[in-house]
């Protein structure tokens, strides 16, 4: 390939920025290769002649497609595993909302059980969501799932560790405090990041993802800063409620919405 010919491909590669990142990641090398083949066989002028229309129409179609989570005629019912994961997510969200009944009404055991169910449900939904999101962008989906799983798992371990320790503890009365701050921050930040990635990938409902981001960040902002009866408390509690609703919506979507058919091996 001459330097001049390489220049054509470099310009074409630059234009591929019009496509969504996950599409580019998967197809840009092949598209540049195809463009180079086309230019070699038909000449640069002909290859470039159709490029603007081809780029604009197909890039626009890919951007619009990102906003249509399932745009295929061939879709499958959720698997039993998806249904269970979705149901766990729904319960997880409900567990957060239960907190609004008043944590004083909960015994320490119920309080901690609520947190265990919440983190397990969140992990189940993240794993189920990742299976769908990986089709849209494997690396990005994984980068969203891992922090959320780690954050929730860490919090789960902390709760189990606390309830396993000898002696009676009150709801949320955990020690050492710094460890719980780290665990809580990991949980909220992990969930917020998962929400952002979900928002970006567009495979699942963006409103749920947005609610997850907002709810997580509000909850993070409220850590250790609960001013009883103040407007700040109301905002933070609202954030946790939004967070719970987001898991419920994601859980429902995972459990009920049809998914794209996977590739089938040749008969």
């Amino acid at each position: 390939m001459t330097a001049r010919a390489g220049g054509h491909e470099r310009i074409y590669r630059g234009l591929l920025r019009l496509y969504p990142a996950n599409y580019r990641e998967r197809y840009s090398e092949q598209m540049v290769q195809l463009f180079a083949d086309q230019r070699r066989d038909t000449g640069a002028a002909r290859a470039w002649l159709k490029t603007p229309v081809d780029l604009v129409t197909s890039a626009a179609s890919e951007h619009l497609r990102r906003n249509r989570p399932v745009a295929h005629s061939l879709t499958l019912q959720p698997t039993p595993a998806s249904r269970v994961s979705g149901l766990l997510g729904l319960i997880a969200g409900a567990m957060l909302l239960v907190g609004f009944l008043g944590t004083e009404a909960l015994t320490p055991d119920l309080f901690n059980l609520r947190l265990v169910v919440f983190t397990l449900g969140a992990i189940a939904v993240v794993i189920a969501a990742h299976q769908r999101q990986a089709r849209a962008g494997r690396r990005l989906a994984l980068s969203g799932a891992i922090p959320a799983i780690v954050g929730n798992a860490l919090y789960l371990v902390l709760v189990i560790r606390a309830v396993s320790a000898p002696g009676q503890i009150g709801p949320g009365d955990y020690q050492p405090v710094w460890l719980w701050i780290v665990g809580g921050a990991a949980l909220w930040l992990g969930d917020a990041w998962f929400g952002l990635v979900t928002l970006r990938l567009g495979v699942l409902n963006r409103a749920s993802a947005f609610a997850l981001v907002v709810g997580s960040l509000l909850a993070l902002a409220g850590m250790g800063n609960f001013l009883r009866g103040s407007p700040v408390e109301t905002i933070i509690l609202g954030g946790i409620a939004v967070h719970g609703l987001a898991w419920i919506l994601l859980g429902l979507e995972i459990a009920l919405r049809r998914r794209p058919a996977p590739p089938v091996a040749p008969a």
Partner: protein
């Protein structure tokens, strides 16, 4: 459908698919790289085609190339669509032939 027909029983890379589409439509449809790969992506997601695991010999072909082939479902869809079009043509043939004849 055109791209699935262009792949046919073979394993083809993007450029070969593009050329085959132009050939079977007698030049009426000329796809660009964007048109080819956005369609390939949709067909992959629908499970109608799959990427071949075999890579070209580096001495014979560019390693960046990816080859695609029809899945079992894809072949069934092509066969079903061909049958559907055959029945449409069969239904249209009697009066379409009449139209050709001078009044």
């Amino acid at each position: 459908m055109l791209i699935m027909l262009a792949i046919g029983p073979e394993e083809r890379h993007g450029y070969a698919i593009m050329r085959e589409v132009a050939r079977i439509t007698e030049g009426a449809t000329k796809l660009g790289p964007g048109g080819v790969y956005t369609t390939i992506r949709r067909l992959l997601e629908d499970g109608l085609i799959e990427e071949s695991e075999e890579r070209p010999d580096p001495d014979l072909d560019d390693q960046r190339r990816r080859y695609y082939k029809l899945t079992g479902t894809g072949r069934a869809v092509v066969a079903s669509e061909a049958r559907r079009m055959e029945s449409l043509i069969a239904a249209a043939r009697p009066w379409a032939l009449e139209l050709r004849q001078p009044a």
